[in-house]
């Protein structure tokens, strides 16, 4: 009866989620993503103490900062209406292609590859952001095109738009990100409902051209696979000859993961501790987890990713708009491809391609890019619940 006395009424407490702006957010997906980034920070804290002499927390502090910024970004994005991005498709697409092109012109080369742009605060890797921007812009292009009569010409145009950034990334050269971009583009086009005959025709032509180039190259004495195979073999026989060699890395990663056994080696993790494993805070962080935390830790990470995939696919299927479905399909492809290729590489199933593990590998561009993508998924989720 106290409600009858307005003077004494305290404003009803809003739920915590509402106060944090989390209404309409998929809590399970949020939990999985925050769990993954937290695990990443924890792993870096345990295994990168000796990475930079005198600064044991260097990677931890930075990754925590990126994580915080990424979560805020994700929540902020989830609150805006993603459909408005459709109108910005030309700007977004141009910015994306422009930034990749800029890298080719002024970028900083690291280990023979030109992927970074030096910004005042950190090195920015445009191709990480490009994956998300491609999802948003290509989905918008498809959305615009399918309203008109749909011909092979349209398909070729869209395919060109989708594959152009990948081609630029291949030039950096960044094979891994290029493959992800191709996967994202093809997934969006596949989900869009373009007649399968178009793909069949284009695929046949591509196969013909590739075959022709291969035949001509072989005839001209250019070897496509042979040199690579030879390098692998040499590296296998003399792993210490060239520690930067791909198969050396895979060998070390497989040994690291295998030696983790059931519950991991903890602080006795010599493979990662003693620097046998290169790139262990970025591309090979999964091997670090495997060695330190064993099957328990490594399978737990896979479990978190499985939840993330499940919720992302759920968003895609539940989306009330065609545009949302296309974007979500692209994001799903992006996440799944990166996770499977990176983890496969760490387990010796896939060749080394330099793909980061989303939310796990150290790196601002990768973390922020992934959270941006998840933010858009959350926005789609929120929109479809509202409709």
């Amino acid at each position: 009866m106290e409600a009858a006395k307005p003077s004494l009424t305290i404003a009803p407490r809003r739920p915590l989620a509402e106060r944090l702006g989390l209404t309409g957010v998929d809590g399970v997906m949020l939990g999985a993503s925050v769990g993954l980034i937290a695990f990443s920070v924890f792993t870096l804290a345990t295994s990168t103490r000796d990475e930079i002499a005198g600064r044991p927390m260097y990677f931890v502090e930075r990754q925590a900062l990126y994580a915080a910024a990424g979560i805020v970004l994700m929540i902020a994005i989830s609150r805006i209406d993603y459909t408005r991005l459709r109108d910005l498709r030309m700007t977004i697409y141009a910015a994306m292609v422009g930034s990749i092109a800029l890298v080719l012109l002024v970028g900083t080369a690291v280990r023979g590859s030109n992927r970074w742009i030096n910004l005042p605060f950190f090195q920015f890797e445009p191709s990480e952001l490009a994956k998300v921007l491609l999802c948003v812009s290509l989905a918008a292009f498809v959305y615009e095109r399918v309203r008109r009569p749909f011909g092979l010409r349209q398909t070729v145009t869209l395919l060109g738009l989708g594959l152009a950034p990948a081609a630029l990334v291949f030039l950096q050269p960044d094979l891994g990100t290029g493959i992800v971009l191709v996967a994202v583009a093809l997934t969006i086009l596949f989900v869009s409902g373009i007649p399968w005959q178009h793909f069949a025709a284009i695929g046949a032509v591509a196969a013909l051209i590739a075959g022709g180039v291969y035949a001509a190259g072989s005839a001209a004495g250019v070897s496509f696979l042979h040199g690579y195979q030879q390098d692998r073999l040499t590296a296998f026989l003399h792993p210490s000859d060239d520690p930067s060699d791909a198969s050396y890395q895979v060998n070390q990663a497989v040994i690291a993961v295998g030696s983790g056994e059931e519950v991991g080696r903890g602080s006795e993790a010599t493979q990662t501790e003693l620097l046998f494993l290169p790139e262990r805070h970025t591309d090979f962080i999964y091997a670090v987890i495997g060695e330190r935390f064993g099957f328990l830790g490594a399978a737990f990470v896979i479990f978190l990713y499985a939840i993330l995939f499940w919720r992302a696919i759920r968003v895609m299927r539940a989306s009330s708009s065609y545009y949302g479905t296309l974007i979500a399909a692209g994001v799903v492809a992006m996440l799944v491809f990166q996770v499977i290729i990176n983890v496969g590489m760490n387990l010796g199933l896939m060749p080394v391609t330099g793909i980061t593990l989303p939310l796990m590998s150290y790196g601002g561009s990768s973390v922020l890019g992934t959270f941006l993508a998840l933010g858009i998924l959350q926005s789609i989720h929120a929109q479809s619940r509202r409709d």
Binding site: H238, P243, V254, I255, A256, V257, G258, S259, G260, E261, E262, R265, T270, Q271, E273, L274, L275, F276, G290, E291, G294, F295, A298, A299, I302, Y305, A306, F309, I313, V332, V336, I340, V343, G344, L347, G348, L349
Partner: protein, 605 residues
């Protein structure tokens, strides 16, 4: 499709970590572990009084293991170029060092010993950029008295691949240092010690990150020799003063303990502690006079009259004659048409055995040689020579000691038939026996062998086992083992025979007209000594002197030989006297006081 991919990754994870986890755990464990061999310091070698003759010096050396160099030709060249500029060596110089250092596959080549601190730290910090090259802390032998007793001390060197296959060297690794000559070789298992190891955790760049465990190296035990460094120095100085290729052996008559033993010319063993090219090693060993040869136990020479005590033993013990048997020494003897003469054309008239030894009557001993039987592998003189240890290895604890040679009819006829020796141009005849009776002809005896034979005469018949090792002492000073080898055999020589021969040798050194009276007559302690003057093809006579002292209570035997030294009394006897003077402390000092007091206490008898 997503489910399939996730399932595949999980399966792979299961197979790696759960099914094959142990395999990979083992791989990872071995990965960062480096086993470093820790070399022990080698035991010291001391003389009988505890004076250090050989100890160790620590050196930091820059070693190159050619087999660990980069396999690519260009990288190897680049690394050698960088090493060359650090060391101030041309690439050609490094190449020739690698090629010319006597070494085996996988063995280190010492590029520079005693690297300075600047180079030391540079190499330690940049070891990753120099695969195959490393700074090693090693022990190097340090010889306290230069060349003193060089032939006895011997040398150390890397164990050879062939040696590694022997059971005695089973625990060693290529590059380990072992004794290769002298007592360093004989007592290697005591001196060597046991290598330790350190398991070090290293990271992928080869930087040490911590120690996993270690087994300390156990230092080698010390070796106390029977040598007296002072006596050794005096003996070697006497040889050096004479300046001719020569050798001496001074031994305890009863135990066979070598008190001093030297050979001239000699060498400085520290030469071998520094890296040299093969050409330099060869040049060092091939200097005139063959300085690496230990003439005291490897140099076999005819002894001349110094052999007569052996002939005398054979004649008396085999009853060819009695001590009173007299031969009329007319100065020459006709043996089947061949006339042989006394040295210097002297004629001593009718002499008995004692006098024949005193004046060294060749005619008397020619007669004994003529009457002694010899056939096949035996002969009366030959058999007694063998009992005295001549013609056989002396069993001394030095690896290179030679057997010498006592000629028998069987030996001479075999060599003659083989046509291998141009000097053996006819089969055996009785003339060879006549020659042997006076220590001439094909007979070869080392100074050590003569000393041993005289010792048997002096001590009443025990053929001692000569030895330079006294005892093994551990690092705490406790005696681990005493080296007291039993005599090889006992000779059955009657007291009468022994007294006649020793008496003759005493008269030779002490009475007017004795062969060494000129040198030993004035010696205050009575001695029994025999000179030897051996004719050698194409050069001056070989000078010998063998002496037992004191005559009435033998303690020490000294044998000296000098190549091209002329009469025994001219060159060899004075050297023997110098050694005895030092032993009996006749020139002041305290080392020999005990010996002299003991000699006097026995008194004349």
């Amino acid at each position: 499709m997503v489910i399939a991919a996730v399932a595949m990754v999980t399966l792979r994870l299961w197979s790696l970590q759960i099914l094959s986890g142990e395999h990979y755990r083992a791989l990872a464990r071995d990965h960062g572990v480096l086993d470093v061999r820790v070399h022990p310091p080698r035991g010291e070698i001391l003389d009988r009084t505890g004076k250090v003759l050989v100890d160790n010096r620590t050196v930091m050396s820059l070693e190159l293991r050619p087999s660990d160099l980069p396999s690519s030709h260009a990288e190897r060249r680049a690394e050698l170029r960088r090493l060359g500029s650090l060391l101030g060596l041309s690439q050609r110089a490094i190449h020739s060092k690698v090629r010319e250092t006597p070494q085996y596959a996988g063995y280190p080549v010492v590029l520079r010993q005693d690297v300075d601190r600047r180079l030391l730290f540079y190499m330690l910090e940049n070891r990753r950029s120099f695969p195959g090259a490393s700074i090693e802390r090693t022990y190097v032998r340090q010889y306290k008295d230069g060349s003193l007793a060089a032939h006895i001390l011997g040398l150390v060197g890397q164990v050879s691949p062939h040696q590694l296959t022997r059971p005695a060297y089973r625990t060693l690794k290529p590059g380990d240092i072992i004794g290769q000559a002298g007592v360093e070789y004989t007592y290697d298992k005591f001196l060597r010690g046991t290598a330790g190891s350190e398991r070090i955790q290293v990271d992928a760049l080869g930087r040490p990150r911590g120690q996993l465990g270690s087994r300390p190296a156990r230092a080698g035990d010390n070796l106390r020799l029977t040598l007296d460094a002072g006596l050794q120095a005096v003996g070697e100085a006497a040889l050096r003063a004479k300046g001719l290729p020569s050798a001496f052996a001074a031994m305890n008559v009863h135990t066979g303990a070598i008190l001093a033993m030297g050979s001239y010319p000699t060498y400085d063993p520290s030469f071998y502690t520094r890296p040299h090219t093969k050409a330099q090693y060869d040049a060092f060993g091939n200097r005139p006079g063959d300085p690496l040869v230990d003439r005291a136990d490897q140099g076999g020479y005819p002894t001349g009259s110094a052999f007569k005590p052996i002939t005398a033993t054979a004649a008396l013990e085999d009853h060819l004659i009695s001590p009173g048997t007299i031969f009329d020494d007319t100065g020459s003897l006709d043996i089947g048409g061949l006339v042989v003469h006394n040295a210097g054309g002297a004629a001593y008239g009718p002499v008995d055995m004692s006098t024949a030894i005193k004046v060294s009557s060749d005619v008397y001993f020619f007669n004994l040689g003529l009457h002694a039987s010899a056939s096949g592998k035996h002969g009366q003189i030959q058999d007694w020579a063998h009992r005295y240890g001549l013609g056989e290895k002396p069993n001394i604890d030095l690896p290179a000691a030679g057997p010498g040679l006592i000629p028998t009819p069987a030996w001479r006829n075999r060599v003659y038939r083989s046509h291998k020796n141009p000097y053996i141009d006819r089969p055996w005849n009785q003339g060879d026996n006549v020659n042997l009776a006076v220590g001439q002809g094909d007979v070869m005896v080392t100074p050590l062998q003569l000393a041993r034979a005289y010792a048997a005469l002096g001590n009443g018949g025990a053929l001692v086992t000569p030895h330079v090792g006294g005892r093994i002492v551990d690092v705490h000073g406790r005696t681990v083992r005493r080296i007291r080898p039993a005599p090889r055999r006992h000779l059955h020589i009657s007291d009468q025979t022994r007294n006649v021969i020793l008496g003759g040798m005493h008269r030779a050194a002490d009475e007017a007209g004795g062969t060494s009276d000129a040198v030993m007559g004035s010696f205050p302690i009575p001695v029994a000594g025999k000179t030897g003057t051996a004719e050698r093809e194409g050069q001056q006579d070989q000078s010998w002197y063998g002496v037992i002292a004191p005559y009435d209570n033998p303690q020490i035997v000294v044998a000296v030989t000098v190549e091209r030294g002329g009469f025994g009394v001219e060159s060899a006897a004075p050297i023997a006297r110098t050694i005895l003077e030092r032993y009996f402390n006749l020139n002041g000092g305290s080392a020999g006081a005990v010996n002299a007091a003991a000699a006097r206490a026995a008194g004349p008898g």
